[in-house]
């Protein structure tokens, strides 16, 4: 597996509290990689270090061979890492289309409209382009945030709990969307709580606990890892629930 993103020995503390304690991970090209772990295990901290929102105390993050640890978020974004947020952050007074268009334009004015339309088509919002973004139902807002990220033409899409607040149907549709995006050749790294979704869509799973990597590998292997079961999934039978 060629790693697009290589995280090596990343550590981060907040006022003495260890958030990440030497985490290493590799994210392969055109795969879906999920980071799982109990609350406070360091999942979102890891995303924030990768995307430049937090500066790591030590360790390295290499994207396509370039060291990106410690670089500012917009610099990293320009390199081809786009992210969404746990709490949706749209340009809410804009139309659905403009939310995506403004991002497409920053990647060059030529065919920006077309590229914005394509991103909306991928997430299935092309028909509601003229609506105000803040009038969209919740699940659509999540999709719009993904479309906006796609419009920046990233190589890797980083999603922080994309299924949060979604109902069962929306989650299934989200899974299908992520497959579509992966099949377009994009790499996806996500943090997600919903085990069924994670195990159903991921090519690779990284389990964290107390800022350390507990296990990493194929979903089935991680699911059966005794340490993961103990730390995160609870009793073995609960894992299947």
């Amino acid at each position: 597996m060629t790693a697009l993103l290589e995280i090596s020995h990343v550590a981060k503390r907040f006022n003495g509290v260890v958030a990440l304690d030497g985490v290493s991970a590799r994210v392969g090209r055109a795969t879906i990689t999920a980071v799982i772990g109990p609350n406070g295990s360091g999942k979102t901290s890891l995303l924030n270090v990768v995307t430049g929102f937090y500066e790591a105390d030590r360790g390295s993050v290499r994207f396509n061979g370039t060291e990106i640890a410690g670089r500012p978020p917009h610099w990293i974004a320009r390199l081809g890492l786009a992210r969404t947020f746990q709490h949706i952050r749209l340009f809410e007074g804009f139309s659905v289309f403009d939310n995506v268009h403004v991002a497409a334009e920053r990647r060059g004015t030529s065919h920006a409209r077309r590229r914005a339309e394509q991103a909306l088509e991928v997430v299935g919002l092309a028909a509601v382009g003229r609506q105000q973004a803040d009038a969209l139902p919740y699940g659509h807002k999540r999709r719009l945030e993904i479309a906006r990220a796609l419009a920046t033409e990233p190589e890797i899409l980083i999603l922080d709990e994309p299924a949060a607040g979604m109902n069962a149907t929306e989650k299934i549709e989200l899974g299908e969307l992520l497959f579509t995006i992966r099949d377009l050749g994009k790499t996806i790294l996500l943090v997600e709580h919903d085990m069924d979704l994670v195990m159903g869509i991921s090519d690779y799973v990284i389990a964290l606990n107390f800022g350390c990597t507990l296990a990493a590998g194929a979903p089935a292997a991680v699911r059966q890892d005794p340490q993961v079961i103990e730390a995160y999934l609870g009793r073995p039978e609960a894992a299947d629930a």
């Binding site: 978020p73 917009h74 974004a77 320009r78 786009a82 992210r83 947020f85 952050r89 749209l90 340009f91 809410e92 007074g93 804009f94 403009d98 268009h101 403004v102 991002a103 334009e105 920053r106 990647r107 004015t109 920006a112 803040d134 906006r148 419009a151 920046t152």
Partner: protein, 295 residues
Amino acid sequence: MSVFLQQTVNGLSLGSAYAVFAVGFTLLFGVLNVLNLAQGAVFMVGAFTGLELVRLVELPLPLAFLVAMVTAGAVSVLTQVAVFGPLERRGGHRWMGLIASLAVARLLVAIAQEVFGTQVLRYPSEPWMEASWTIAGVQIQGLQLIVLATALLVMAALAVLLRATQTGRAIRTMAFNPNVARLVGVPVQRMTLLTYFIAGALAGAAGVQLGVLYNAVSPFMGETILLKGLTVLILGGLGHVPGAALAGLLLGLTEVYSVGYLSSSFRDAVGFGLVFIILLVRPHGLFGLTTRQRA
């Protein structure tokens, strides 16, 4: 009836200049979340720049108007680079920027006092300013028409810039979330400077317009307009740019009607009274929806 129409004509031309000032003031608030009390002083800089270009360099007024806009815009950018930017990077409380903007205003006024003295100066009269037409008992001055026309032109240009251009969309993203704007590739620092430039240029334009309309330019002229700017900012719906344009016109009309029908002493009292009443009825201002709808 003809008194009413006459006052309407007077009010529209005065209000259109208020609107130009207030739109710039509101833009800074709506896009960058900055309440810049130095805008009044930048307005004054515009008025003096226009005046000196006409008096000393004998530039034609339209050209002086444009140069005054650019100069006031540049002064506004300078205040960002020298004062507001560094303060923001230090991450201080928002009040720091507010107080600093008062300091910048005092500094600009002090410089103007040193350079121009405290006397009220006047734009030289030109034939087209004096021209007037009487239609159905209502007298319309050339000057009023020009002020109204330039105000509408300037605001239309701004509307096109903000709504229909890539740059405008980039500026508007900052109103929602500058960090996300940066992530999608908006050059936030450059767009911030551009926003300061536009706001300053609008203040400068209003400075020349009101300097000519009142036929009076003084270092202290920015103080009154600043209060009007605040009034319109609130009336228009805190950061709502089209709302500010309409509220500016409305304030001009209200002032002129109150002078016409009550007494000139009530001019400002009526304007502020209006704010009070409207806020009781519509707490978000006349056009304000939510903070998300800004700009």
